[in-house]
Point group: C2
Chain length 374, copies 2
Amino acid sequence: MTPSAEFTPATHRRRLAGAAAAARDRGLDALLITPSPDYAYLLGYGAPALERLTCLVVPAEGEVTLILPRLEEPLARHELGELADEVELIPWDETDDPIRLVRQYLDGALRVGLQDQMWARFVLRLRAALDPAELVEAGPAMSAMRRIKDADEVERLGAAAAAADAAMSAITSERLSGRTEIDVSRRIRELLIEAGHEAAGFAIVASGPNSASPHHVPGSRMIEPGDAIVLDIGGSRAGYASDTSRTAFVGEPPAEVAALYGVLREAQAAACLAVQPGVACSEIDATARRIIDDAGYGDAFIHRTGHGIGMETHEEPYLVASNPDPLVAGNAFSIEPGIYLSGRWGARIEDIVVCTESGGTRLNTTSTELIEVE
Amino acid sequence: MTPSAEFTPATHRRRLAGAAAAARDRGLDALLITPSPDYAYLLGYGAPALERLTCLVVPAEGEVTLILPRLEEPLARHELGELADEVELIPWDETDDPIRLVRQYLDGALRVGLQDQMWARFVLRLRAALDPAELVEAGPAMSAMRRIKDADEVERLGAAAAAADAAMSAITSERLSGRTEIDVSRRIRELLIEAGHEAAGFAIVASGPNSASPHHVPGSRMIEPGDAIVLDIGGSRAGYASDTSRTAFVGEPPAEVAALYGVLREAQAAACLAVQPGVACSEIDATARRIIDDAGYGDAFIHRTGHGIGMETHEEPYLVASNPDPLVAGNAFSIEPGIYLSGRWGARIEDIVVCTESGGTRLNTTSTELIEVE
């Protein structure tokens, strides 16, 4: 369940009105929002995504309706608080057809946006029931709002980043050799919670040759002298995500590692410095990539430079070569180039950066140097 | 991430072949399976559901293909082990269009089943790219397999149930009054892990009037004498779910509570006894409902009698009035009638039951009596 954001009812009223306006701007008659971060963003509480349909109907004009299983109604009423005065709750019983209820409350809408993570089973049933309405992605409308963080959201991202930094500092002060990846990963999860996260989301510990696998799942490998270790950790605090990566080395790194890490560090710093309103997302990616390419390791940087972050760890805007969108003040995203030499070692440096009117502000503040550990 | 089931490669080969056969049986040319319990069931490891498309293409005839982001390839190859010899991995780069790759590997398929929980953004893009192919739900094909548990799966469900029972016995031996719901819920999560779950899934603690809300989220309410407390707890062990509910009462229950609880207990026991191959799911629901109806509390039993359970806490078959499917040996499901008196109190009793050739076997074995606690 998405942690409650606990913003004021006024914030949620503004967001609901913003969603309706975003729908109008895109020629949509309504948005259908099933349980997801979008749902929690609009209503302030996280409902579980289950086989029983819960669906918020946000028309471009008119009243907002929440269609939900009757057994979820008491919880929804409690969580909505005074917002329940403005959202009509329509509970359905176990033998009712909730798709028919959605059709009824859509009231003839001809162009309907579906929440990005809505389950296929509901999409396919809605398609049949709403024919000939056109079903399109609600993602662009929702992310138009969500990708621009207000001051309160930036503060929460900052608090989450500070908590992740504390956990990163703590784990890299411990002896890591002689421990398995999974043990270190479990320890990081504890440290993430101790540092103030409500939930530990992930704790990648990729050691030795595993450090060349960007999304390695920590396993039984024992960390030993001469290992590079990619640590990519994060969680959720007050409804907002943290995500930071650092690379450690057990003992003194060989010259090749130190040199290549220096290239990576330069690329990451350059990409952070390039952040300005109006600069294309693709250009931030290109800034990091050019430096790694020029050093002859372009093929080893096998992923995009970064992803937006907010209530979700991955959201708009994506810093990828194919995204021409210009950055605007309030965007928050990771900058995380990596270099991966298959079967040998890898490294990644990741900070969360907020775009402000005067450039990028790093929310993660631990040193980006290669960390020597025991 | 879904925990790895760690079955043998032979099991996964059989499941992949079964999925292809289930597709053929339903006139489908292929199934598209995105990260989900279906994905883990087939491949033996859980990939994260993310904005980057990972999609297993299971044709009715021919070779299985796994289209995945390049940065996920090392992990997939590692997790698949020898199964990687039979699944062709097609990695895509950050600026590639993975939807086009899916179309290419579908090779002109005209009727395609989509995994139930596939994200709407992918469904809508596939619809556009695969036109004029017909897109239908893959759920019936996948659940035809998954709803029938083999001996190994029943053993895992039994081990998970035993762990949940241990946690339930432990928490109801503790003093509960004077503690908040959220504190008791946190304690249950610890107990679920101590008892052998890899992950604590949920720990509903609904006290006093909150016990009338079936999916109550534990809050700051202090438990006090005279409270009914619905405890609904579960987690995951070796890839399979547990889920059990018991009702406790702080001090001696008033006569009305004891009497109504007696009706509930009779209804739950009767529904368990009614389990036999060939009996309709709706009939199990009706068995419990008739007893509560006859006592005059039909309106207070506001949800279905149960849900299937396996790798997911909620899956087929559902024990609901609208489901005429007959039970077959190997089905595993909850039987969990409840009575909810809004604003006053509620109660629920939930066991996991497996249908065998000779009737139902309860996997939860703690007493179903109303538990007096301090």
